[in-house]
């Protein structure tokens, strides 16, 4: 199967954590809190859109809120496909990361 990029992985995980309240603004905020870095809108929107088009995400249209005027909200939900993909990633990375711990994390050893 095709591996997801790190960005896509993080976005999918954010949507998972946001539990049905995931849309562009909240996803971006979550990512910024998570990574401590600035994410531009494009950096969130482009992979988000791609994921939606490739079937990793479902969307529902929600009612607008006071903050955004009359413009309605597009919520994202994970599909079965994305759960499978995330699980796969977790399995692969868990295996790959085996044996790597804080104890082993020493600058002199790394050389």
């Amino acid at each position: 199967m095709k591996y997801l990029t790190r960005q896509e992985e993080l976005i999918l995980l954010s949507i998972f954590h946001l539990k049905g309240k995931a849309y562009l603004v909240t996803i971006r905020k979550h990512l910024m809190e998570l990574t401590g870095k600035n994410w531009s809108i494009g950096a969130v929107y482009v992979p988000l859109n791609r994921l939606h088009q490739t079937g990793y995400l479902d969307t529902t249209i929600g009612e607008p809120n006071a903050k955004r005027g009359r413009n309605s909200i597009k919520y994202y939900r994970l599909t079965k496909k994305s759960f499978e993909a995330l699980e796969e990633i977790k399995k692969v990375s868990d295996t790959a990361w085996m044996g790597f711990s804080k104890v082993a994390y020493n600058i002199s050893d790394c050389r």
Binding site: L24, S40, I41, Y45, R68, N71, S72
Partner: protein, 864 residues
């Protein structure tokens, strides 16, 4: 809650919306707005604002490569195809562009004129608050715009809403001299200093407040300074008014714009009037001779002020007179087009002419647009493949509509360039036609530029819409399946051709009626002689005082048959007063027109006397007061026999005996009825015109003789003469102008329509080449084929006639109502207008038909 004013910049939002994909637009703007607000709350308004704009800037590269680039590519393709089509079918493109260009050129010229006429007096900064006082006397035909002299000061004193008021008294034909330069000058104004507060007049030199403080000071316009002083400095120099009064130049007035209803060449203070005319009483409310303007306070209501006028008049003029006058105000900007009062400073224009011209321009434009529509739809058959391919590749209807509208825009633009060139070439001719000095400086004339854009947009959309809608509706399967035999004969296209010819026929009809009426005027027996009469103005005291001697001197010349002086000439009697006679009922008021003449006038103009006798030197009693009346006057008064009766009129309060009755003649232009008229024998001081009747064809010898004779009595007199015939014609100048305009533009209309028809027929015959070939092979004669091809077009023209006739008839009948004496629109006019349209249509159609019918059928049938 969200605070007020926390919206993202609207312009940036608009830009961003253009970039977003269509189906995501709403969510994304909402998302952006939300983030914008968050930043605003957490940081500051400015950083939110900065962030929002940075989103716009960072997306510019994306926008350029993904949106604009593709649009440019498509646009280039459309343009290329359009240009290819123009080049490939040069003939049709020429007809299309030429028709549009001629139409547009006509519209440009007319718009230029209309713009100028509408701009009158608008350049004064306070134009919106300036009004002129006008009044209407009960029972009089025309209102008057001249008021008594004390009115302006009284208005300023009595009405708080009047900021300032001023008076004009203008003289024409004033004899002005400086050094060895003597001229008769027009536009000589007496006025108050308030004029300079109210109107936007500029002084190049001098102070508007103080320049006119001395009664003998004068302001000259720049052009007059150049005429009299050349390069000399005029300030402080003295010029002489009528040879009697010295005026010192105290200022120079910037030349006034042409679009003013008054232009001033000489300005002197109002206080100079009593110095020049001893009989003038500045306090008199009886002399209505001064144009009075006032500046209204801001937000004041002119209607309310009008109401206050009756008490004012009652206070100063008295109850009797004020009952008979109704005062009203004319806004400054409406004077030029809407006012036609007596006492007008310059000849005003007529809004009806403006409307007439604009509608002609519009009609011509419609004809040109229809040309385009017809040719474009007819020719779309040739482009059916292109349209089919575009549709198959994925163009939807809106793309095609855009493409064809764009194409018509491109053509209109090309036509516009050509039209401007045509307009520039014909501008001098047009200028002389409308009597204006217009120039086509588009870049400096912003408003006109805007009009042109609107025009191109309108024409492009209007002309392009019908072809765009029909062509884009083609079904690709049918077009590409090669079963596309030919476009069905479209009903709409027939209707459009009928409309074109209808408009042409209306214009031809109007031309014929105007021409008939002018011929009628020209040939109508006016009741007086018009040929071989020279008129010399009497404007100089030394000539007026020696009138009898001059007459005798002139009559010595064998080529001069007769000489006579008068106040008016017989074709225009513009003075009316009231008449009284013994035995008149007290309530009875009789208006009577008046002219002062001498003994020879009636004979010189061959006016017929039907009862009694002419004035004569053989009856010394005539000099104590003698009148001639016309038949209408006698009838109006109700006398059985007029000679011997006594009459008094109120100009100079003169009483006299009636010596004879004149046959009715047209003492005013044919617009007006013949009115009661009185000729008063008064060869004295007031007469203005000297008529000289010349025998044979010796005009060339006689004119120098008259000049020399006059010069003996007044050496500096600038001699000018006119032919009475020309003066007579001048009264119908407007009608002649209308006649020229109509013939010109109806010619234009019919030629554009003909051009369109030519294109259309050449196309339809081309479509039927094979049919014609087969018919010929089967034995059809050329004449049969020509008949077959022209039958349809003839039908259209005939239908157009039926629609056009009633419209034209009613419109022209209304125009004729402005004449008291007019023609009846005859059957011939109907027939001629129909015939003209038929002949033009017939010629264009049969040319094509002949060409098609004469081709060898082999040529038509060999490809299959």
């Amino acid at each position: 809650m969200i605070q007020k004013g926390s919206k993202p910049p609207r312009f940036a939002t608009w830009l961003l919306k253009g970039i977003f994909p269509k189906d995501e637009k709403f969510y994304l703007t909402g998302d952006l707005k939300e983030i914008f607000r968050e930043i605003q709350v957490e940081e500051s308004r400015f950083s939110a604002w900065r962030w929002y704009w940075s989103q716009v800037f960072t997306s510019i590269p994306y926008f350029f490569f993904n949106v604009i680039l593709w649009r440019i590519v498509m646009f280039k393709n459309y343009l290329k195809i359009a240009m290819r089509n123009i080049r490939k079918h040069k003939g049709y493109s020429f007809i299309n562009i030429a028709g549009l260009a001629i139409g547009l050129a006509a519209v440009i010229l007319i718009l230029l004129y209309v713009q100028f006429e509408l701009s009158f007096d608008r350049y004064h900064e306070k134009a919106g608050r300036i009004y002129r006082v006008a009044g209407e006397r009960v029972g009089s035909e025309r209102p008057s715009s001249v008021m008594p002299a004390p009115l302006a000061p009284a208005m300023m004193a009595e009405f708080p809403e009047v900021v300032s008021a001023t008076r004009f008294y203008d003289l024409n034909n004033v004899y002005i001299s400086y050094g060895d330069k003597n001229f008769f000058e027009d536009k000589f104004f007496f006025t108050d200093p308030e004029t300079f507060d109210m109107f936007s007049l500029e002084l190049v030199k001098g102070n508007p407040r103080t320049s006119l403080s001395d009664p003998y000071s004068i302001l000259l316009s720049e052009s007059m300074v150049e005429k009299y002083f050349g390069n000399e400095d005029p300030m402080g120099k003295t010029i002489i008014f009528r040879g009697t009064h010295d005026f010192k130049v105290t200022g120079i007035l910037k030349n006034m714009a042409e679009n003013s209803h008054f232009t001033m060449n000489f300005v002197v203070p109002f206080e100079a009037i009593p110095k020049i005319n001893r009989r003038y009483d500045p306090e008199s409310w009886g002399a209505f001779s001064f144009n009075t303007y006032f500046l209204l306070r801001e937000n004041a209501d002119p209607d309310a002020l009008e109401e206050k006028f009756l008490p004012l008049l009652e206070k100063y003029i008295g109850k009797d007179v004020s009952k008979e006058i109704r005062i009203f105000f004319q806004p400054l900007t409406r004077i030029h087009l809407h006012s036609n009062t007596t006492g007008e400073i310059s000849k005003t224009a007529d809004i009806r002419i403006i409307i007439l011209l604009s509608s002609i321009a519009f009609l011509i434009l419609v004809i040109a647009c229809i040309n385009y529509m017809n040719l474009a739809t007819a020719r779309s058959v040739h482009r059916s493949r292109e349209i089919g391919v575009r549709k198959v590749i994925g163009a939807n209807r809106s793309h095609l509509i855009k493409q064809f509208l764009g194409e018509s825009m491109v053509l209109t633009m090309l036509a516009l360039v050509l039209a401007i060139a045509i307009a520039v070439i014909f501008l001098p001719y047009f200028n002389s036609l409308v009597g204006r000095n217009l120039n086509l400086n588009i870049l400096q004339n912003r408003q006109f530029l805007l009009w042109l854009f609107v025009l191109v947009g309108f024409v492009g959309l209007f002309a392009g819409s019908y072809p765009a809608l029909t062509i884009s509706a083609f079904k690709p399967a049918i077009i590409l399946g090669n079963r596309f035999g030919g476009l069905k004969r479209s009903m709409i296209r027939n209707v459009l051709v009928i409309i074109q010819f209808m408009i042409s026929i209306i214009l031809i009809f109007a031309t014929l009626v105007v021409k008939d009426q002018l011929d009628f005027i020209r040939n109508k027996d006016m009741g007086f002689e018009r040929d071989r009469i020279i008129v010399v103005d009497i404007r100089n005291r030394s000539i007026r005082n020696n009138l009898d001697t001059i007459k005798n001197e002139l009559e010595r010349n064998p080529n001069i048959l007769s000489v006579s002086s008068s106040y008016f000439l017989p074709n225009l009697t513009d003075m009316a007063t009231l008449a009284n006679w013994p035995g008149q009922l007290k309530e009875r008021k009789q208006e009577i027109y008046l002219n002062f003449i001498d003994e020879d006038f009636v004979d010189l103009y061959s006016i017929e006397i039907v009862q009694g006798r002419n004035f004569s030197r053989d009856f010394p009693s005539d000099s104590k007061g003698a009148f001639l009346l016309n038949q209408t006057a006698v009838k109006a008064i109700g006398w059985e026999s007029a000679p011997g009766k006594e009459l008094t009129h109120y100009i100079g309060r003169r009483t006299g005996k009636i010596v004879g009755v004149m046959k009715d003649f047209h003492m005013n232009p044919l617009h007006q009825q013949i009115m009661p008229l009185c000729y008063d024998l008064n060869p004295g001081s007031a007469n203005m015109a000297l008529s000289v009747k010349i025998g044979g064809n010796h005009i060339q010898q006689v004119v120098p003789f008259i000049r020399e004779t006059m010069a003996r009595f007044s050496p500096n007199y600038p001699f000018e003469y006119r032919f009475f015939d020309d003066i007579f014609d001048a009264a119908y100048r407007l009608e002649r102008k209308i006649s020229v305009i109509f013939s010109l533009f109806s010619l234009l209309a019919i030629s554009i329509a003909g051009l369109g028809l030519f294109g259309l027929t050449s196309f339809t015959t081309e479509q039927r080449t094979k049919e014609i070939g087969i018919r010929k092979v089967l034995g059809a004669t050329i004449s049969r084929i020509v008949l077959m091809l022209s039958k349809e077009f003839t039908k259209w023209v005939l239908i157009a006639n039926i629609v056009a006739w009633p419209v034209a008839y009613f419109a022209m009948n209304r125009w004729l109502q402005s004449f008291a004496y007019k023609i009846n629109i005859g059957l011939l006019t109907f027939v001629l207008s129909a015939l003209a349209a038929l002949i033009i249509a017939g010629l264009t159609v049969s040319y094509q038909a002949f060409k098609a019918a004469r081709t060898n059928p082999v040529e038509a049938l060999k490809y299959e």
